[in-house]
Symmetry: C2
DNA sequence: TAAAAACTAGACTATTTGGTCAAGTTTTTT
DNA sequence: AAAAAACTTGACCAAATAGTCTAGTTTTTA
């Protein structure tokens, strides 16, 4: 689905599926589930509407396939971090990973944001449970870091919310950001914003920024 | 429009207009402009659909009226701050104001978020210009604070983006937050989150948190 | 190379949608 | 109290929409 998908070596079906997923991601990010039109997705994919419904049996199943793809994006090195790891390194990389997603997959981020804002009507209990247990595990590791004096005392929930909020903002609110900056964010602007954010969050936790991110 | 609107002393028209705006705010926040249904707004307002279109001549004009109301929410004391003011006081209050909006007007925040995510198709040039010049003014004041050594050197744009991102997140992503915390945010949770956020941002700028927010 | 599977696509349909119309009733004004 | 203005509401309509059906063409398989 990413912009850099290599279309060679793919069967017609795989190629079309990718075209459709790419197109749908944009339409859903631009209009939400209810607002997106199958015809608009087809036009964007340069295929007849019937083809879209041939590959994905309904608008809903297309949306769900896409959502599943997007949820996989959320995996990161932070998932396996333990008390033994260096919180400054782990958190800095986690923030950098999140910023990279905002830069490379803005439509995926927007689609996910819409899904949550709209009340998460399509995230099933399985995902919610999985997400909640991921959260519990991460909160636990952060608390242990705090107990060991590696990290200033802070609520781990709020810490993670702040990281998500700030990093995703660069994708979700890109239109406002570009308008107010007067120019779009280049790759090096993103690098700067990333280091700025890492500094803010880590300093706020009493951590020293790893030299790689200065 | 706020949940606490006093319905007494209002004419029938004003009362119904308020009912409709309240209902529409939720529907637009839940489904976006294209996805929202006039019938659903009418049902939520407990009025026949025709009445909705009597008070607001089209779905679009209802949306625009609402958006205009919401943009007024963005006004704050920070708008008139000058170099002479104490940045710690000003920024702490600004963050607290933003958090208060997220607590009291979550649907307004969500509706605005959808509008921006969807590419701001309904924000006219007048608003954009006004917003850009507000931004320029605020960036200027922050830069002067930095020049005077009142504030650590940081990009004023990113500082403001971070404040918006983190505070609005509590409204826009409330569903995710409630799910992961296992319980909804109470007023005192909000107070805690506000102080936590003020500490993070101000510390990150080399400022001391005013005692009121500790 | 023949059969099967995968793919393409126009025509069509049932339903939903935003919005209009016309015929009222209620409230306000004078 | 009469006239005007404000408000209410069911019936209706044209356009748009997700999805189906059928009849093909192309690609893969054996």
């Amino acid at each position: 689905m990413s912009a850099s998908t290599n279309y060679k070596e793919l069967s017609i079906g795989e190629l079309n599926r990718n075209k459709i997923l790419n197109a749908a991601e944009k339409e859903f990010a631009l209009h939400g589930f209810k607002g997106a039109r199958v015809q608009a997705i087809a036009d964007r994919a340069q295929l007849p509407k019937t083809n879209v419904l041939y590959y994905f049996k309904s608008k809903e199943s297309l949306y769900l396939a896409l959502l599943e793809d997007i949820l996989r994006l959320w995996n990161s090195r932070f998932d396996e971090a333990t008390v033994g790891d260096d919180p400054a390194e782990v958190l800095a990389h986690y923030i950098a990973d999140k910023m990279e997603i905002s830069r490379c997959r803005p439509y995926a981020s927007k689609m996910f944001a819409l899904e949550i804002i709209n009340g998460a009507p399509n995230l099933n209990e399985f995902f919610k449970d999985q997400h909640a247990s991921w959260m519990a595990g991460r909160v636990d590791v952060i608390k242990q870091w705090i107990d060991q004096g590696k990290l200033a005392a802070t609520d781990p929930h709020y810490l993670l919310f702040n990281i998500w909020a700030t990093s995703q903002h660069y994708a979700d609110f890109s239109v406002q950001i570009n308008e107010l900056r007067g120019k779009p964010m280049t790759q090096s602007d993103f690098a700067e914003a990333t280091n700025n954010l890492i500094k803010l969050i880590l300093t706020g936790c009493g951590l020293t920024v790893p030299s790689k991110f200065e």
